[in-house]
C-alpha cells in the first residue's frame, strides 16, 4: 500500500491556513484519496502559531504527522518555518512565504527576529522555494489571497490534476472572490 503524503501547513492566526487546507482536502477527496486533516484551534485568534496537518493516501490512519515525516512543509511565515522545520523529512519539499510577522517578544524587544532566515533555509534544505506570496497576491488583485498563491505553488508537487484543483477552489472560495483567487492560484502554480 502506498504510504500517505504528509503536508504540514504552518503560519500565524489570520493568515488563511484554514482555507488553504480546506481546498487541499477538497481536491484530495475529489482525486479519490483517503484524507485526514488535523488542526489545533483555540488561541489562534490571539496571534499564536497555527499548525494544520493534512495526510492523504490510499488509507490514512493517524491524523498526526511525525517529526521527520512531512513530505511537504508549506510555511506562511518565516519564523514558523524554523519552529516546525524538524517535521520536514530529508528530501522533503519546503515552500516558504517571505513574510515576517513579529511575535510579541520581538515587538517589545525581549527577543530578536532571526535575520536571514531564507538564506539559512536554502543552505539547509536543498531546493527550498522562498517567495513573497503577499506581493504576488497583491498583483493578482488582493494581498489577502497570499494563502492561495502558496497553495498553488504546492499544488504541482501533489499527485492531483490541475483541473481538480480548479474545481476545489470554486467550491471553497466565495463566488465573488473566485476570479482573484484563480489568478493567485495560477501565479503560485507557475512558481511551484
Amino acid at each position: 500500500m502506498l504510504k500517505p503524503i504528509d503536508v504540514l501547513m504552518v503560519g500565524v492566526g489570520g493568515q488563511g491556513t484554514i482555507l488553504a487546507s480546506r481546498v487541499l482536502a477538497q481536491a484530495a477527496q475529489a482525486a479519490g484519496y483517503d484524507i485526514k486533516v488535523s488542526e489545533i484551534h483555540g488561541m489562534a485568534q490571539r496571534g499564536g502559531s497555527v499548525v494544520t496537518q493534512v495526510r492523504l493516501g490510499e488509507k490514512v490512519y493517524s491524523p498526526l504527522i511525525v517529526k521527520g515525516g512531512a513530505d511537504i512543509l508549506l510555511a506562511f511565515e518565516k519564523l514558523e518555518t524554523l519552529r516546525l522545520l524538524s517535521y520536514l523529512k530529508k528530501d522533503g519539499v519546503l515552500i516558504v512565504n517571505d513574510q515576517a510577522i513579529d511575535p510579541v517578544p520581538v515587538l517589545v524587544g525581549a527577543a530578536e527576529y532571526p535575520p536571514n532566515i531564507p538564506e539559512y533555509l536554502r543552505n539547509t534544505v536543498p531546493g527550498t522555494l522562498v517567495f513573497d506570496a503577499t506581493e504576488i497576491a497583491g498583483r493578482c488583485g488582493t494581498a489577502k489571497a497570499a494563502n492561495v498563491v502558496l497553495l498553488g505553488a504546492m499544488a504541482r508537487r501533489l499527485p492531483i490534476e490541475r483541473a481538480i484543483w480548479g474545481k476545489a477552489l470554486a467550491e471553497r472560495v466565495p463566488a465573488k472572490l473566485l476570479e482573484v483567487n484563480r489568478a493567485a492560484f495560477a501565479a503560485g502554480y507557475e512558481l511551484g
Binding site: A25, S38, H41, R46, Y61, K67, K89, P103, V104, P114
Partner: protein, 589 residues
C-alpha cells in the same frame, strides 16, 4: 455520499441521524463545535446552558420528557456536572441520553488533562471511544440505542485529535423518532434513600448486562494479523498503533466500560506478547492486569501529555518491542545551526478591553486571584497581573479565602472574573462573600461574550445559541440582589478611572463589585483611527510596550504603531508620559 467532517461535526450529524431533538452544552475546547453544528439543523432544540451541571440537568429532563438527548462538554465540564451524573445512572433514562466528554490530552487549551474514562467507571455507565469521525458519528446512534436498551446514560469520550481532526464520513438520512411519553415512576426517579437503595442494586444488574453486551459489541473487534505481538487499544491510539505496528494483531476496543473480559482473555491467549497502548491514564492496562493477564511491558508509554506515532514508536523501541523507529520517526534535517526561534505566545488582541484592567492591576501591584478566559492572558508577560487560577468561578472564593486567612491581605487582593465565567459559577462565590462578611473586591470583565472559546452567547448577551433575541441578565442588578452594596460600572480602557475605582473599592471595608463594561474588540470591530507616534517627542522609554499590545513595537529606539493592526482604543496614549502617542485623526470623507 462521503463528507469530510471533524469529529465534532460528525457527532452533531450522528445526533441528527439518530433522532436527537434536544441538546444542551456549555462551550469548552475541544467540544464547542458539537452544539454549534447541531444548532444549524432544523427541528432540534439546542441551547447554551449557563454551565455544565445545568446542561446535564436539562438533558435529564429532556430524556424524562421523552426526547433523545445529547449533552456535550469539555473534560473539566464533567467535574461541574458530576453531581447530577452520579445519580442519573441510578434512575436511568426514558428516551436515550448521550453525554459527550471531549478530553484534551496535552492541554492544548485547558488547565488540566484529566482522563474522563474514569468518570464512566465511577458513575457506572457505558463508555464509547471513537477513533475517527465515522466512528464518532456512528457511536452517537449506538450510544442512544444502548442508553434505551440498558436504561442508562452513556458517555461518548473523544479527545482533541478526534474532535478536531477531519476524516471522511458516510452521510445517512435522519431517522425520525416519536417522543416517548412521560411516565411518573417514583420508585425509579425519586432518589430518596428508600428508593435509591434498590436502584443501586439495579445498577449493578444493569452493569452485568452491559458486560455481557461488551463481549459481542460490534465496536469491539479483533483484527488478527501476525500473532507474535498483540495490542489492546482504544480511541485515537488505535490509529497510531496501525501506523507504527502495521503487522501486529489488534484488539480494538470501542466500548470500554465495562470491558469485555472474555474477549480480552481469548485475544491474550492468541498472541505471544501482549501490550496495551492508550493515551493518558493506564485505564485499560490496570484492568487487564487485574484480570491476571501478563503484559510484555507495562507503563512504557508516558502517562503525561498527548500521544503521537513518534512518541509511541520511541517508547516501543525503548521497551524492546520493536528494534527501530524505522518506518515512522525518521531523522529530518540537521538543525543544529538553526537560529534561536523566539516564542509566539498568544496575546490579548489589539484593542482588547481586558488590557486596561490588567495594566492598572500591575501598576497597583496587587494580589490578583484570577479565573479562566481570554483574560487569563493578562497573567503572562508583559502584564503579569494574575497570581493564580484554578477552575472556572474559583477567583471569588479564593480571594475571600485569602482575606479570611490574613485580613491584612484583604486590602491588596482582588478577584478578576469574566462575564461568562461569573454566570457559569461565580455567583455562588460572591454570595458567600456577602453572607460571611468578607471584603473581597471583585472585578467582572463584562465583554458581553464567551470570547475564549470563540465568542458564544451566554445569559448576559441577549441572544441564544440559535441567534434569537433573549432576555439579557442585568449584572449590576444581579450583584445588588446578592447583597453587594458597592457596585460600580467603569470603562476599562480609561486607565485613570479604572485605577481610581480599584483603589477606592479596595479601601472599602465591605464587598464590592466593579463591572468593567466594554465589548470584546473582535466582536464590535469598532475601529477608530490608528494612533500616531510623534517622533519628536518619543524618547524610546518603552513604557508603551508594557501594555502588551501587538500593534506597538520599538524600531530604531522609537515606538512604532502598526496602523493596520491598531484599533484606536487609545489605551497606549494614557501610559505614555511624553505625549508622544497621538490620537489618530478622523478621516473626513
Amino acid at each position: 455520499m462521503k463528507e469530510l467532517l471533524s469529529g465534532n461535526a460528525a457527532i452533531a450529524r450522528g445526533a441528527i441521524e439518530s433522532g436527537v431533538t434536544v441538546a444542551a452544552a456549555y462551550p469548552g475546547t475541544p467540544s464547542t463545535e458539537i452544539l454549534e453544528n447541531l444548532a444549524l439543523y432544523p427541528g432540534v432544540y439546542a441551547e447554551w446552558s449557563p454551565n455544565e451541571k445545568v446542561a446535564v440537568e436539562v438533558g435529564i429532563g429532556a430524556s424524562l420528557g421523552g426526547a433523545r438527548t445529547l449533552v456535550a462538554m469539555k473534560h473539566v465540564g464533567v467535574n461541574v456536572a458530576a453531581d447530577p451524573l452520579m445519580t442519573f445512572s441510578y434512575i436511568g433514562v426514558n428516551a436515550g441520553f448521550v453525554l459527550v466528554s471531549a478530553d484534551d490530552p496535552g492541554m492544548h487549551s485547558s488547565q488540566n488533562e484529566q482522563d474522563n474514562r474514569h468518570y464512566a467507571r465511577f458513575a457506572k455507565i457505558p463508555l464509547l471511544e471513537p477513533s475517527d469521525s465515522q466512528e464518532a458519528k456512528d457511536m452517537v446512534g449506538l450510544a442512544l440505542d444502548l442508553s434505551e436498551r440498558f436504561d442508562t446514560p452513556v458517555m461518548l469520550r473523544t479527545t482533541t485529535r478526534v474532535s478536531h481532526s477531519q476524516s471522511l464520513v458516510e452521510i445517512q438520512d435522519p431517522q425520525p423518532r416519536k417522543l416517548k411519553s412521560y411516565v411518573k415512576d417514583i420508585k425509579k426517579n425519586l432518589m430518596l434513600p428508600t428508593y435509591a437503595r434498590p436502584r443501586r442494586v439495579a445498577l449493578e444488574k444493569s452493569l452485568a448486562g452491559l458486560k455481557e453486551y461488551s463481549e459481542s459489541s460490534p465496536v469491539n473487534r479483533i483484527e488478527w494479523r501476525d500473532r507474535s505481538l498483540g495490542v489492546i487499544t482504544s480511541g485515537i491510539s488505535y490509529q497510531y498503533v496501525r501506523d507504527v505496528l502495521p503487522d501486529a494483531s489488534v484488539l480494538k476496543l470501542g466500548f470500554t466500560n465495562p470491558l469485555p473480559e472474555q474477549m480480552i482473555r481469548s485475544f491474550a491467549a492468541g498472541v505471544q506478547k501482549l501490550i496495551v497502548v492508550e493515551e493518558l491514564e493506564p485505564f485499560i492496562e490496570e484492568q487487564v492486569r487485574a484480570m491476571g493477564l501478563a503484559l510484555a511491558v507495562k507503563g512504557f508509554i508516558p502517562y503525561t501529555g498527548e500521544l503521537d506515532p513518534g512518541i509511541l514508536a520511541a517508547a516501543l523501541v525503548k521497551a524492546g518491542i520493536i528494534h527501530s523507529t524505522g518506518g515512522i520517526a525518521k531523522a529530518g534535517y540537521d538543525l543544529a545551526e538553526s537560529p534561536a526561534v523566539p516564542a509566539r505566545p498568544p496575546v490579548l488582541c489589539p484593542g482588547c478591553s481586558h488590557r486596561g484592567v490588567f495594566y492598572a492591576l500591575r501598576q497597583l501591584k496587587l494580589n490578583v486571584s484570577g479565573d479562566i478566559g481570554c483574560y487569563t492572558l493578562g497573567g503572562l508577560p508583559p502584564l503579569e497581573a494574575m497570581d493564580s487560577n484554578i477552575c472556572m468561578g474559583a477567583s471569588i472564593g479564593v480571594a475571600h479565602g485569602i482575606g479570611k486567612a490574613n485580613p491584612a491581605l484583604d486590602a491588596r487582593t482582588v478577584a478578576v472574573i469574566g462575564d461568562s465565567t461569573f454566570l457559569h459559577s461565580g455567583i455562588t462565590g460572591l454570595l458567600d462573600v456577602v453572607y460571611n462578611k468578607g471584603n473581597a473586591t471583585v472585578i467582572i470583565l463584562d465583554n458581553r461574550t464567551t470570547a475564549m472559546t470563540g465568542h458564544q452567547q451566554h445569559p448576559g448577551t441577549g441572544r441564544t445559541l440559535a441567534g434569537d433575541p433573549a432576555p439579557a441578565v442585568d449584572l449590576e442588578a444581579l450583584v445588588r440582589a446578592l447583597g453587594v452594596k458597592r457596585v460600580r460600572v467603569i470603562d476599562p480602557l480609561n486607565l485613570a478611572e479604572t485605577e481610581a475605582a480599584i483603589k477606592e473599592e479596595l479601601a472599602a471595608k465591605e464587598p464590592s463589585v466593579i463591572i468593567a463594561d466594554k465589548p470584546c474588540a473582535l466582536l464590535t470591530k469598532a475601529v477608530q483611527p490608528a494612533v500616531r507616534v510623534d517622533a519628536q517627542k518619543c524618547t524610546g522609554c518603552r513604557i508603551c510596550t508594557r501594555i502588551g499590545c501587538p500593534a506597538i513595537s520599538i524600531k530604531d529606539k522609537l515606538a512604532q504603531v502598526d496602523a493596520a493592526v491598531c484599533t484606536g482604543c487609545n489605551l497606549c496614549l494614557q501610559v505614555c508620559r511624553e505625549g508622544a502617542l497621538v490620537k489618530g485623526e478622523e478621516k473626513h470623507a
